[in-house]
Symmetry: C2
Subunit: 123 residues, 2 copies
DNA sequence: CAGTATCCCAGAGGATACTG
DNA sequence: CAGTATCCTCTGGGATACTG
């Protein structure tokens, strides 16, 4: 508890380490899309340009199973389903913002390094 | 800039989004092992239980290429090589600690949810 | 000591088509 | 509308063995 960032902490973040659970292409974006309120399946597909229905459905199932979002169905035709963040899901926004803050502060530096590396390998 | 966590930010985190760059099995652990000082290749293999030399070498080269660590060789026999965090590498510890903080605060809740899900699927 | 060289596999995720 | 069903590819990462 006194030593944050002990290597062991990374393997202690639940059944799947936290940074791996969210270290994929869509999970973080889905949560970000839900932070302003409930959204329907098709409403999520718009901002998440390029996601296929299969992958979106799989991702949503996983987030629901882990308690990060809640799924509500409204019977009727046409079918209506809405997804929203749970309090636990909202709490994830904080660590996610830490990454964004880092990116804002260090992105120019990172890009310089990347350009230099590209230039070197082009020689 | 006014809207942190805009979905677009995730795709703007460098050539590879930040959360994906560090959303793998070893990268974060390697940085954590280096936060207390320089380490040799074989010294890293000890805390990183189970990592193969191939994967460790690949990971270190990637971190070096991206400017997060610095590699120093000391000629002689036997060969001596040391790795250390750069200032940029150190700066990553902050967002990584945000994940650990989240885990500390929410892990019990996450585990409850996981156990309930396991119990449900066992019915 | 500090790595390379091969081979291999599971799973994330895309393309496409179909359905209650 | 809100998904499923198939099929396929690509790559992170492991096992094992070898080298300057």
């Amino acid at each position: 508890m006194s030593e944050p960032l002990d290597p062991m902490m990374f393997s202690g973040c639940g059944p799947v380490p936290l940074h791996i659970r969210f270290g994929n292409k869509w999970t973080g974006k889905i949560l970000a899309c839900l932070k302003t309120g409930r959204r329907r399946f098709s409403e999520l597909q718009v901002p998440l340009r390029g996601i296929t229905p299969k992958v979106l459905a799989e991702s949503l199932r996983g987030l629901e199973r882990d308690g990060f979002i809640k799924r509500t169905t409204y019977p009727g035709v046409p079918l209506r389903v809405e997804y929203e963040l749970t309090p636990l899901g909202f709490s994830l926004l904080e660590p996610m913002e830490a990454w964004c803050k880092w990116a804002e502060e260090h992105l120019p530096e990172v890009q310089n390094i990347h350009e230099e590396a590209t230039a070197r390998s082009a020689v």
